[in-house]
Amino acid sequence: MHDPAAATDDSLIAAASRGDEAAFARLVQRHSSRALAVATRFLGSPSEAEEVVQEAFWRAWRGTARWRPGEAAFSTWLHRVVINLCIDRERRARLRRFLSLEAAPEIAEPGVSADERLVAVGELRAVLDDIRRLPARQRAAVLLAGSGERSNAGIAAVLGVSEKAVESLLVRARRSLRTSLRERLGEDR
């Protein structure tokens, strides 16, 4: 591969299927940051998010030979797996907590970075808490919408639901977040 930076995802996957680890590493470099951001905000934990994203890339690595080029964007597939791994993980954690096998986790890991310390205060912190309280699929839809990279049709492709279903999820999520925002603004006055 002459210029890995300019290579398409499909060509990188094809190279990876022939054992080219450098090509797969390029895919990881290209897509892991966004996937980690969504997973971190979904789960509230950077370390858990990294485990989830690593699992998604592991599945991608194992599936490179079966990739169908041009059928869907790799990013769509990756986010789909990441979101569902997040949902699985949260469901299992809820069951374990119900069975008292582990203590309830913190909402977020403290003091990870300067950015996180900034996020820990003020309006953004409050919105983060509101997002964490949303039902899982509303949370997934609103985080994907928040990144601004996908249309509702793109979010539907990630979640594997219809565009109408995405609109319904977004309506409920945004109304809920807006209600909380208005309540906080009312309290501040």
């Binding site: 951001a37 994203v53 690595w61 990739w67 069975l99 996020v119 928040g146 309506v171 925002l181």
Partner: protein, 146 residues
Amino acid sequence: MINLQRFEEALDRRGPDLERWPLAERAAAATLLVTSTAARVAHEEAARMQDLLAAVVDTAPQRPGAAERIMAGIAARRSAPPPDPLLILARPQAAMALTAAAAVMFALGAFGGGDLAAQLTQGPSFDGSYSAMIDSDTLPAIFEGN
């Protein structure tokens, strides 16, 4: 013409970026924004929420070297032997979890809590199309046979 209520519904459905709205709705919304103060307030509020959501994703904390660790993890898993399922079940934590789960499910079933038991094992009560996504092993349909 679009009224305020429908405009607010459309904001929730499509977000505040009117460029992403269908052409007819976009034109109606633009007209309403010129004539209605309440519509402008609603649009500003939606834009503010979108900015917050973008900031939530953009400021997600990431530990340096994540991509390298992901690749190292993949390399480690490639060289690791597959786990023995009997050894996993023999772990004390797994045995305790299985025992506790069996006891709870038995109790829930015995006292008429079958629905709750089903919810706990199946996860959130998503609709059919989404619940099919819950088991990640069945999800990556874009890969053949996965």
